[in-house]
């Protein structure tokens, strides 16, 4: 497929942080097609967040090229081509849940009626209808994260960037939100790039899992996750699911032992 059709197309990407001369990323090539759900997984410090932030033009690469929707990343950011979700919900304490979701819409200068309609659609999507007038600190961590997902999706970006969005949640909440995220993904037909530390989460959610190695951050391998869609509670019980989890785990172990060897 050509770069024009890719949602994200990365070639020869490198990133050296001037402070301490850390090579966070080296020679990254990755193409993401519309509708894909890509997980980035790898040991801590291998550059997953950095890669995500470069795609979002929140950090500048030192070499290589990043195209988002066929445009250079800075242009894509200015065109609001992506929505982002961090590990912390980063909600504005002084805004109600509804107003938090409306924030990007206000910045896009949508009028009031249109904004209100979209916000209630979004509250529906993340099943928080009764909480629009609550303040963020009145919600549980999982609910806050759903608000932050609703906010990222409110302006229908083609691309959703998520950096360990469920990392701080308990296992049960996490699995429920995984299911919810998948149904949102199916409904909105968006493309997702998802950073996680959890192998089973990566396998369960993704169409492809990208395994990264540290020092310098590189792509060590890619595992196609050919599990049937739509996925559900049963998916986690399929033998194929376990095989894929094992495949990703072995790749990760190889990466980690390699990293521990002296250079």
């Amino acid at each position: 497929m050509s770069a024009q059709e890719s949602v994200v197309s990365i070639s020869g990407l490198g990133k050296v942080f001037p402070k301490g001369g850390v090579t966070a990323l080296e020679n990254i090539d990755l193409g993401v097609q519309p509708g894909e759900f890509i997980s980035l997984i790898g040991p801590s410090g291998c550059g997953k967040s950095t890669l995500l932030r470069i795609i979002g033009d929140l950090t500048q690469p030192t070499s290589g090229e990043v195209l988002v929707n066929g445009k250079p990343a800075p242009q894509a950011r200015l065109d609001r081509d992506y929505g982002i979700v961090f590990q912390a919900a980063v909600l504005f304490d002084w805004r109600t849940v509804a107003k938090n979701i409306a924030l990007p819409l206000e910045l896009l200068k949508w009028d009031r009626a249109k904004r209100d309609a979209r916000v209630s659609e979004m509250l529906d999507l993340v099943e928080l209808n009764d909480f629009g007038s609550h303040y963020p600190w009145q919600l549980s961590g999982g609910m806050q994260q759903r608000v932050s997902i609703a906010r990222a999706l409110s302006f229908s970006p083609a691309l959703l960037l998520m950096d360990e969005p469920f990392g701080a949640l308990d296992e049960m909440t996490r699995e429920r939100l995984n299911l919810e995220l998948l149904s949102i993904w199916a409904e909105t037909k968006s493309t997702v790039i998802f950073v996680t530390h959890s192998i089973s989460e990566a396998v369960f959610l993704s169409t492809r899992v990208v395994v990264m190695s540290p020092r310098p951050g590189r792509i060590a391998g890619v595992v196609e996750i050919a599990l049937a869609q739509p996925r559900g509670v049963r998916t986690r019980e399929e033998p194929r699911f376990f095989e894929l989890v094992t495949e990703v785990r072995e790749m990760l172990h190889a990466v980690e032992t390699e990293a521990e060897l002296p250079e």
Partner: protein, 282 residues
Amino acid sequence: MINVIKRVAIGIAVLVGVCAFYTGYRELFLATGWTWPFEVDDITLPSLPSIVGALFDPVQEDGELLISLLFKAALFTAKEAFVGFVIGTIVGFTLGAVIARFQMLQRGLMPYVVGSQTIPILAIAPIVVVGLGSLTIAGWTPSDWLRVSVISAYLTFFPVTVNTVRGLESADPRAIELMRSYASGEWAIFLKLRLPSSLPYLFGAFRIAATACVIGAIIGELPSSIQGGLGGAIINFNQYYVLNPQNLWATNLMAAALGISFFLVIVIAEKLLVHRPPETLT
């Protein structure tokens, strides 16, 4: 609601306690004749009933009641203090916003901002209030009381500047990234993120400024011949203290009441405007 009742009850209890202490101290020293650290009599510590009683006596033969005079004086001083508060807030906030925006200025300007507050207010008051007496800006001569407001503004701007800088810089860096992801420029980030983040800090400054601007107005009245305010009343009653100590005590109480009122207005405004997690959660 229960909280409010509780607080009012505590407030009243403290007031009663202070009155009881004052009266007890006075009566004990009067009864025993103790004179250390100072002699207690109707001039050094007039009795509470006599202070309250003085409020309802005419100030001069057939003149208006003290309470009415003090009330007018308090309103006059309140006007000076309020205008000074507004000017000081505008100047302080602007200065703070500029300093926060241009980091380079922080080191250059902050020493002067801090230095400005080490000059005793008593030394500046005559310069501003008397010295600028003949000041005319494009045919407009500021009235006397407006020059007093400058002193209030002078005391207000400092906490506002310092806390504006701190408040604007308190914005969560992740929230700034989030705003950038929405293609927001500096101005939108300022309006939607930095300004609301700074509100709790700003109100912290306002609490300090609320009482400081009242003090500034009273002190500003002293070196001038402005008679209408509490400062004028203090000078006046000072001269006749030995004859009528209650008048000065009553004036001081009125000044305190004015300061407290300003403070309460800020506290109520904060309650209405700032929606933050209850402190136990943060």
